[in-house]
Every structure is written in C-alpha cells, then in structure tokens.
C-alpha cells in the first residue's frame, strides 16, 4: 500500500485556458509512490488536459508542479520522459509505418558502430512483448496489428523508454476486451509493487474499483475531490462525476418489441466474405435493436462492414427494403437509408480540422449531393440540435473538432450519422470512451430511435450494455455467427457462447 508521505508528483492550483474554454481551474493533484490513482470525470472534464500539462505537451497558465520534492518546469514530453514520467496518450500515438520493434525502442535502441543493431533490437522487442503475454512478429509494421496490440505496444514503449517513476495511462483499456484489460492490469500491478506511481484514466467505473487505490474526480475543469477508493460508494462517485445522481440510469427500460409480421427492413442471407466473416443470416426489423456481442476480433466489426458494403461480400445476398442489393457500396447503402457509425473515429471519419458543424453535416450533404446546399442557418440548427441532444461539451458549434476531448469527438461522429435520419443504423462501439452519464444517454437514445421505428445494430464490448439495449443478441466467435438469443437471457449464457465450449 502507498504511504501518504511518499509523494512523487504534486500539482497545485493548475489553471489552463484554451480559447473559449477554461479547461482546468485551480486543480490540485498528487500522486504517491506505488499507488494506482484513477482520474475520472465526464467527457471534456479536463482529464487529458491535466495529463498534458503534467507531461509538457501543454503549458499551464498558473500553478506549480513539485516533482520528487523540487519545484520544476516540464518543458516537453521528452523532458518529462527523461525525468521519469512516461505516458500513453488517449489515442494510440505510435507510428504505424515503422516496425513494432522500432516503435518500442526507437530512442534507446541497441547500437553497433553507431547503427541500429537490428538483431538485438528485434530480440529485445520480442522479449518485451512476450513479457506482456503478446507473441507477435515484431519486425512487421505496427499498423498491421489490431488496436489492442497497438495499445499494448504503446504501454510497452512507455515502460521501456525510461524506467519510469510515474506512468500515465489515458484510457488504455477503452478499446480492449476484458481479457486484454486484465493483461494490462497485471502489468500495472507488477509495476506499482515496484514503486511506480500510476495515473489511470478510464470511463469504466468497474475498472476503477477493480484496480485503483485512490480516485480523483474532475468536473468541468475543477477538482471535485480525491478519495480512497475503498471508502467511496459507487453512487457517490457517479454523482460527483456528473453533478447529480444517475436515477435514469436504472429506470431505463427497453421498449417492448413485438415482432410484427411485416417483412424485415434488412435481411442478410448467407452473407459473407472470405477471410473476414463466415456466411451469416441476419434480420433487422423496424423498431428493433439487434446487439452484436463477441470478444474483440470476433468479427463484429466485419459483420457491419460487409453489411455496409465497405467490404464487398463474396457470398450470399442482402435485401434491404424488399430490394436486392446488387452493387455493394457504402454509397448504395446510404441511399437505401442505412448509416454506419464506425468504430475507429480517428481513422474513419472525424475530420479534425473542420468544425463540429461541418463534421456533423458532412454525411447529410453527401446524401443530398454536393450541389444542393444546406443554408448556413439550417446547418447551425442541425448542429446545435445534436450538440444539445448528445451533450457535446463545447463553447460553440464552430469549435474545431480536434480541440474537443476524445469522448466528445465520438459524439460528433454519432451525430453525423443520426443527422442523416436513417432507417437503419449500424453502431460500432458508439460508446467507446464516453462517460457514464452520456453512455446512459446514448443507450436511451438508441432505444428511443427504435421506438420511433428505426432498426439498429448495436455493437459493444460491454455485455451489460448490449443486453440493456437489445431485443435480440447475436453472438460472434472467431469470425462466425455462433448463435442468437431473443427474449430473456442471462449474462452467463451469452458469455459462454462468446467464449465457446461449455
């Protein structure tokens, strides 16, 4: 257990302004040796900004930082690293074009005659990854691996590059499944017993309780409180985070869905694509939410990709609205009233240098064709409607999206597709990196949309969430649809199906 006198880093009275936003107001924070300190708060609360201040990415306007007993100024991420503060930032921030080994070790690679000693480097990288129970070919470019592996590589780098005293993990588990999260927890525990102080940011309340010793809550850029985890009830934590109690979280009920005997909105028959997903059948009715459950990499994303025509199926057929789809392409599907909110917001969709408004109207505009313009006024109307509906934390709809917090960017993507007013909505991990309050909002929203007659496919790594929102749950395993549950079903049954075997 940590000792209160063993402070490694202490921040006092930190203030940070961005144009139009005060991201941090007089925040105090301290981290002890050997503790895991959870940093929680809603989207846009200032968590990432606090981290960036601590690691020299952003300069703070006021306040002071004491590190190892001395007041210091952290000049750059490199400087932070040199003095023992290592960070894994919110989005995976490695370079996808160079090999995993280089990503892990560049900067302190083994050298021979001034050149990189590739053999030693690859060997070392391999060993590092194996330490984390990941066995991969480290000479391959990082970009060829899954997000989970990339995330683990990012952590491995943070550990490797400077045997750190402080390790900061900004939402490291947001794109990992339970097994992979456990891998990371294992590493975290090992490190903190070696005396490293760890700051852990997450929106998974369960994980906060599972691993942290203390919790600091931020709200609207202000410090709410720091607690010992053991003595803080969940209810209080949540109400501190969102500023009021989360009554509606429990009240939420899915609408009663009665199978009407009309034809399905969307019907896939033996649809599949070699190497991506085995042929599957799927029906989606108006007013229905179909959940896709499965472990990471089980083929959930592939299912919606094939449905949406991003990857052309090579087997079976797809019928939408009584029409057989002949040419599979996203454009075709959009024209049939299907929308896909993709999983990886950075790679597929968000345009950081456009404003929120522009990002939101992008898809509607595409649907209208580029020659019919939406009036500015109409654009603002739409943008503001969704900003309000999804609770996007921003001073105005003219803010550049790259200046939003991670979770709020996710909401903008969601807004973009909602704005097209689709008949069928495919949501791939729409709640990743979104805070508890808004998560509940989004679940409610999905249920409401279904009540209004939309058909939704809902993918989430959180089984609880899938069960709460969906009328039917389709379980994927190893790129194959294994089974489908309708009506009452227990969490255990689904989990068993996900894992396979008995």
């Amino acid at each position: 257990m940590s000792n209160p006198n063993d402070e490694i880093i202490r921040l006092e009275g930190i203030c940070k302004n961005f144009p139009g936003v005060q991201a941090l107001k007089n925040v105090d924070f301290c981290l002890r040796k050997g503790e895991i300190h959870a940093l929680v708060g809603e989207n846009g609360a200032g968590k990432s900004t606090l981290i960036k201040v601590m690691t020299g990415v952003e300069r703070f306007d006021e306040g002071k930082i004491t590190y190892d007993g001395k007041e210091i100024v952290i000049r750059s991420p490199q400087h932070a690293q040199n003095i023992g503060i290592s960070t894994v930032y919110q989005e995976v921030n490695l370079c996808s074009n160079i090999s995993v080994a280089e990503n892990l070790l560049l900067g302190r690679e083994p050298r021979k005659l001034g050149c990189i000693d590739w053999k030693a480097m690859n060997k070392r990288a391999k060993a590092i990854m194996q330490d984390l129970d990941v066995d991969i070919d480290v000479t391959q470019p990082l970009g060829s691996f899954s997000t989970a592996i990339q995330q683990i590589a990012a952590i491995a780098r943070a550990l490797e590059i400077s045997s750190p005293k402080v390790l900061i993990l900004d939402e490291p588990t947001s794109s990992l499944d339970a097994h992979e999260s456990n891998l990371i927890f294992k590493v975290m525990r090992k490190l903190c017993s070696a005396g490293v102080g760890i700051i852990f940011i997450t929106h998974f309340i369960k994980q906060v309780y599972e691993i942290s010793d203390r919790i600091t809550v931020l709200r609207n850029g202000k410090l709410v409180a720091t607690h010992e985890t053991a003595s803080l009830p969940t209810i209080q934590l949540i109400s501190e985070m969102i500023g009021h109690s989360l009554a509606e979280y429990d009240e939420m009920k899915k609408s009663e869905f009665v199978v009407n005997h009309k034809k399905a909105l969307l019907e896939a028959k033996e649809l599949g694509r070699k190497g991506m997903v085995e042929p599957f059948d799927l029906e989606l009715h108006a007013g229905e939410v179909v959940g896709l459950a499965g472990l990471l990499g089980s083929g959930r994303t592939e299912v919606v990709k094939v449905l949406f025509g991003i990857d052309e199926p090579d087997n079976g057929c797809l019928i939408v609205d009584d029409q057989l789809i002949k040419k599979h392409s996203p454009f075709e599907m959009i024209m049939h009233g299907v929308a896909l909110c993709p999983e990886d917001r950075k790679a597929s969709g968000i345009v950081g240098d456009l404003t929120i408004r522009e990002n939101i109207i992008l898809a509607i505009q595409a649907r209208l064709g580029w020659f019919k313009f939406l009036s500015k006024q109409k654009q603002y109307e739409i943008a503001n409607k969704y900003i309000k509906m999804l609770n996007i934390a921003t001073p105005s709809s003219d803010q550049l999206v790259k200046n939003l917090s991670g979770g709020n960017q996710q909401k903008v993507i969601l807004a973009r597709w909602l704005a097209t007013d689709p008949k069928m909505l495919l949501l791939d991990e729409p709640t990743r990196g979104i805070d508890v309050g808004t998560k509940a909002e989004i679940q409610k929203l999905v249920i409401n949309l279904a009540t209004e007659g939309m058909g939704c496919v809902f993918i989430s790594s959180e089984l609880e969430e899938v069960m709460r929102t969906s009328h039917r749950v389709v379980v994927m395993r190893e790129h194959e649809k294994v089974t489908e549950f309708a009506g009452e079903v227990s969490e255990r049954e689904i989990m068993q199906a996900m894992a396979g075997g008995e």
């Binding site: 990415v57 991420p77 490199q78 932070a80 690293q81 960070t87 930032y89 921030n93 490695l94 370079c95 996808s96 074009n97 160079i98 280089e102 990503n103 560049l106 900067g107 690679e109 050298r111 001034g114 050149c115 990189i116 590739w118 060829s144 780098r157 590059i161």
Partner: protein, 324 residues
C-alpha cells in the same frame, strides 16, 4: 511463399522502379545498339550527378513529410557565388567549404521557419527559391567562366573503372555515389533515420513518443541545403562556369525522381535506392532522345511526367493492397 509475398508487398514500388529502368534501357539498346556500351550506363551517373545529389536530399525531406523547392535555385546561387569568388582568386577548397556551409545554413534557416513559426514547408522553401535565385542574379547577371586549375583538374580527370574496359567516371561523380551510400545507411539503420520515417508518418505521434522532432527536422532541412550546395559545386565543376539561370526547375525533376523511386509524397515511406533509379530513369529517357536526335527535349518532360503519374498510381495500388 508467404515470405515472398510480403517481400514483394514491402518492396513493390522499388522493384517496379528497377523493372521499368531495365525495360526502358533494354528498349533503348534495341533501338540504338551503341547504348549497349557500358560507358553509356556510366554516363547516366556523370550527366545526372547534381540531380542525384539534390534528389537524395529531397528523398529525406519527402520521407519526413516535407518538401524543399529551393534546391534548383541553390544550385544556381552556389555556382555563381563560387565562380565569383574564384574570379577573385580565392582558394578553391576554401570556396567549396564556404559554399557547403552556406547551403547548410540556408537550409537550417528554412527549417527553423518551418518548424518554429509553423509555416508550410512548401511556402518557406518557395521563398528560399526566390531568395537564392535572386541572390544569384544580384551577384552577377551574366554567366561567369571558372578558370581555376583545381576545378579544371576535377572536371577533366577521368577515373578508370575496374572490370569494364575503357569505362570511366569523373571525380565529382563519386560525390553522388558516396552521398548515396551514406544516406542509405543513415536512413535505414540509424536512430536519426528511423525518426525521419516516424515523423513522416505522424509528427504528433513522434513528438509524443519523445523523439527529437525539432532537431530532426532542422537537420533534415540543413542536410537538403547541404546537398543542394554540393550539387551546385558539382554542377559548376562540370560546366566550369556559374550562372543565375542554372538549375531551372530542377527541383521538379528531383521531386519526380523521388516519386518514381517509390517515395510517397505523403511521407513515411521510401528509400534513396529507389531515388537512384528514379534519377537513372530520368537520365535514360534523356539519353534515348539524344540518340534519336530528331525529337525535342520536351519529350523528356512528357515521358517523365507520364512515368511519375504511373508511379503514383502504382503506389496507391500497393497502399490499398497493404491495407487489406
């Protein structure tokens, strides 16, 4: 099999470049049998010495996600400045060192503006181009002949090559080759080189990885400046004169060579080896047209333009394949 496939995917653009070079050479040799002489091949190195040198600098800049449009004008400035100094009986070695320092310094300044003031590299180096070209004409509006013994010696001494009878290159030709080998090692197997690739992929990520982004960018632009000054020296030795009009739009030839050599303009991928073949392809087209004698030199431009387009096409094909 899998290994071969991944090798092909990894080195596809480079192999395509080499294949095209061989193909074009073979066609040329069919049409004009004199092209079968080894010396014709070595002439490619002799005639394109300066282009090779600036293309090497350009490769590094482009891999890093930048661009340097000042290189052609820098050749002109270097040639005029050295010619003017030599006219005043300055020591030739001193002149060369001074020119290299000047090139490096100009590159460094442009790098500083690009990095610290966050101005587009395109804009900054275009200004650098205007500045260099302008300065060249300010020093002297007309061509200055170089009459220096050392320069003459460098220009006219042949180095006979082993293995090939009667094949030779000149001393300055070696500069490009040495630089090529040096840069190849630098890019493929040093920390600095790999940092260049990382920045080209994602500067923000490289910064957050704690890599020395600022230093690397400054070094790369300084290096490109160094290369263009070196190219200027080689150029003035081969023509034994200096003139503000030299190297007109040579930066474009360099960029084309870099792209043909398989380096993506978006940064993050590419090799100098590819660039070498890019330069050679450029050269071979010129040679064929010279052997032909009836076509105007503008056909070179058209040929190179078409090839560049084809290569951009090939690259994006490979890119799409890789993503799968």
């Amino acid at each position: 099999m899998q290994k071969i496939k991944s090798f092909l995917l990894k080195n596809g653009p480079l192999l395509a470049t080499v294949a095209i070079f061989i193909l074009v050479y073979a066609i040329g040799a069919q049409l004009y049998p004199t092209m079968k002489k080894p010396q014709v091949f070595f002439n490619l190195f002799i005639n394109n010495g300066s282009l090779l040198i600036i293309s090497i600098g350009m490769t590094m800049t482009v891999i890093m996600g930048g661009i340097d449009l000042s290189v052609g004008a820098m050749i002109a400035l270097t040639s005029v400045a050295s010619a003017a100094l030599l006219q005043k009986n300055a020591d030739p070695v001193f002149v060369m060192v001074l020119m290299l320092l000047m090139g490096t310094a100009l590159g460094f300044v442009m790098g500083c503006i690009i990095h610290y003031l966050k101005v587009e590299a395109f804009v900054v180096t275009l200004m650098g181009q205007f500045f260099a070209r302008g300065m060249a004409y300010v020093i002297n509006e007309s061509s200055i002949t170089i009459k220096n013994e050392f320069y003459n010696y460098l220009a006219l001494t042949k180095i006979n090559l082993p293995f090939f009878e009667k094949a030779y290159v000149y001393i300055p030709t070696l500069a490009g080759i040495v630089l090529l080998i040096f840069t190849f090692i630098l890019l493929s197997s040093t920390r600095f080189g790999r940092t260049v690739y990382a920045i080209g992929n994602n500067e923000q990520s490289a910064l957050l990885m704690g890599l020395p982004v600022a230093r690397t960018k400054l070094i790369v632009y300084s290096f490109s400046g160094f290369c263009s000054a070196l190219a200027g020296i080689v150029f003035s030795i081969s023509l034994l004169s200096g003139y503000g009009g030299y190297g007109q739009s040579m930066e474009m030839d360099a960029i084309a060579s870099v792209v043909i050599g398989g380096t993506a303009l978006t940064g993050g991928t590419g090799t100098v080896l590819g660039t070498l073949f890019g330069v050679l392809i450029n050269g071979i087209i010129v040679s064929i047209l010279q052997f032909n004698g009836t076509l105007t030199s503008w056909w070179t431009r058209i040929g190179v333009g078409a090839l560049t387009l084809i290569f951009i096409g090939i690259q994006s094909l490979f890119y799409v394949k890789k993503k799968d």
